[in-house]
């Protein structure tokens, strides 16, 4: 294979990995939006907390002399998911539920406030510096002639692809097949009516937030391990990119969030690959504007039908 082709493959692998990281976070965003039509700006912060918990647990277990990596990762995952879900539930209970039924802008402001609160709370509790963890999952596959251009695909990247695909499938099935999923869909169609029919909507919405936060924790664990660095501000940037991905794919749609994430990631990687990398954000956000001009509800979003 020629160098040009190998280089393209490498950049596509990079782009799909970046895209999967956006998608993992975007799924949580889009799910909450799909159910209650509210953008949960604190979602990025929950992801950041998930990363911190992972780091603390892994550092603690390594410090205690545990060596088996799979066991360490499973414990870290369980703890991170549990703690992040608690945060997700609490945020909903404290900042959003009391505002239910008020003007749409009010919970939005509350969400931004919650995001700033959580970020500063972590700054105070953990310090504002980068916290680093040595690489845990190393190695990968390489192919191509080293003399021409060697393409590398690490195990960690494969894990991120896999996790994104699995969570997307599992969630889609959950929403379309399970009893709780049906309740979620009912809530998204008409909250008042669902309530009248005897479904506990508060419980359903709380569950949505818990699932969203659990996904953010999975993302926090994977991306924390992948980059090896976390600071209290990663949630903001990641949240912004994930939000973009969710809008691009059609907010409210789970496969849309994944597709949006992948499109954004691949665009970024290919722009960096063939143009000076400072144009990365210009091109990817230019693309966002273009797509929204021609498809206002995103790639896979359903056109909004005004309820009468």
């Amino acid at each position: 294979m020629t160098e040009t082709l190998l280089y393209l493959i490498q950049q596509l692998i990079n782009g799909l990995t970046i895209g999967s990281t956006y998608a993992l976070i975007a799924i949580g965003y889009t799910m909450v939006y799909g159910i209650i039509g509210m953008i949960n700006f604190a979602h990025g912060e929950i992801y950041m907390i998930g990363s911190y918990v992972t780091f603390i647990v892994i550092a603690g277990l390594l410090g205690m002399g545990m060596v088996s990596l799979p066991i360490i990762l499973i414990i870290a995952l369980v703890v991170a998911v549990f703690i992040a879900s608690t945060y997700g539930w609490t945020v909903e209970r404290v900042a959003y539920r009391p505002l239910r039924g008020s003007n749409r802008l009010i919970p939005l402001i509350s969400a931004i406030g919650m995001s700033i609160f959580l970020q500063n709370y972590v700054v105070l509790a953990q310090g504002s510096r980068d916290v680093a963890l040595p690489p845990q999952i190393t190695g990968g596959w390489t192919f191509g002639d080293p003399a021409v251009f060697e393409v590398s695909f690490s195990y960690m990247q494969a894990l991120i692809w896999g996790a994104t695909f699995v969570t997307m499938t599992a969630l889609t099935l959950f929403i379309s097949r399970s009893r709780m999923g049906r309740a979620c869909r009912a809530c998204s169609e008409d909250l008042g009516m669902t309530n009248l029919l005897g479904i506990d909507t508060n419980r359903t919405i709380a569950l949505t937030f818990i699932i969203g936060a659990a996904l953010a924790a999975v993302a926090g664990l994977l991306l924390g391990l992948y980059y090896g660095v976390v600071n209290p501000f990663v949630g903001f940037i990641a949240g912004l990119k994930a939000f973009t991905a969710a809008v691009l794919g059609g907010i409210g749609s789970i496969p849309g969030a994944v597709l949006g994430g992948l499109v954004l990631g691949v665009t970024e990687a290919l722009t960096s690959a063939y143009f000076p990398s400072e144009y990365k954000d210009v091109v990817s956000f230019g693309l966002l504007v273009l797509i929204l001009l021609f498809r206002p509800s995103g790639l896979l979003g359903k056109p909004e039908v005004e309820k009468v």
Binding site: S128, V229, A273
Partner: protein, 372 residues
Amino acid sequence: MKRFTKKLLTLSSAIALAGAVSAAQADTLKIGLAGPATGPVAQYGDMQKIGVMAAIKDINAAGGINGMKLEGVIYDDACDPKQAVAVANKIVNDGIQHVVGHLCSSSTEPASDIYEEEGVLMITAASTSPSITEKGYQLVFRTIGLDSLQGTLAASYIIDKAQPERIAIIHDKQQYGEGLATTVRNVLEGEGMQPVMFEGVTAGDKDFSALIAKLKKENVDFVYYGGYHPELGLILRQSREKGFDAQFMGPEGIVNSDLAKIAGEAAEGVLATAPKSFDQNPVNQARVEAIKANGEDPTGPFVFTAYAAVELMKSAIEKTGGTDPEAMADHIRANPLDTAIGKVSYDKKGDLTESTFQVYSLHKDGSKSPVK
């Protein structure tokens, strides 16, 4: 309404009284200490704080300046230009007339406009961007060399010692990093060495895989990075994972132990230009011991530049017999002084006349050693 007005009057007179009280306490002189106390580059703010506080402690222990004690007041700009402006206004409102700071060039520049206008003496111990002193300000000084000197030193090292075949220059699109990267590129091009790449990354990004693949494809064997350690640390770490093993070099903004924490093994052998290790200077031995005894690290590049800034203020107050910033600035400009960083003399812009940078090799345990 009437009661409200009355309350307002009482309140404002109380504020006026409070102002009078603080003005009466002339036996302590407050020195503003502006820099990042939070945020991703708070380490550098700590270095500045360690230096200034050590100097203040030494001066107060020796009886103060003309019987006047010093007090350091910390202001946090988080290395954010917008916050730096707010901090500068707060310092002016608090009646402080002497500032050590700011730290990041992009914060120092907007803040210096306010200080010059409001008659506040500012000495930065860390900002190296040339444009800060190019406005002809009278009250702005620095105790550190310029980017242009640092960049020139880096470039001449690259040409004479490293002699790479294909060099790439990467920067973080901020005033400090891009300024340095541009200087290095200009010097290299002047000497006939053409960089194969000159590109910016976004500060705060976590994924540099696309950039690294590009460097690898271009067969780059030397990378100069203009910026700070959080991004370079990740670039190094991801380069190692992707099997890209060029020689990296950066400015003093990458010199701190967190680079090694982030990059791990990949931090070994990275080159950096930094102010000379003033903690190795015999003059500073007692100060180094005192800082260590305090449980703090005296080896940061800005510790003794900050110490020297306080020394300059002290000497100017003693010689001019007052704390008037303008008289002090004239004195500092006219009279060279022996300080913790050696002899300090200024040109009329407020820049040091002698460069104090040196090339270091960084190690994976966070330490550094000079390169001959």
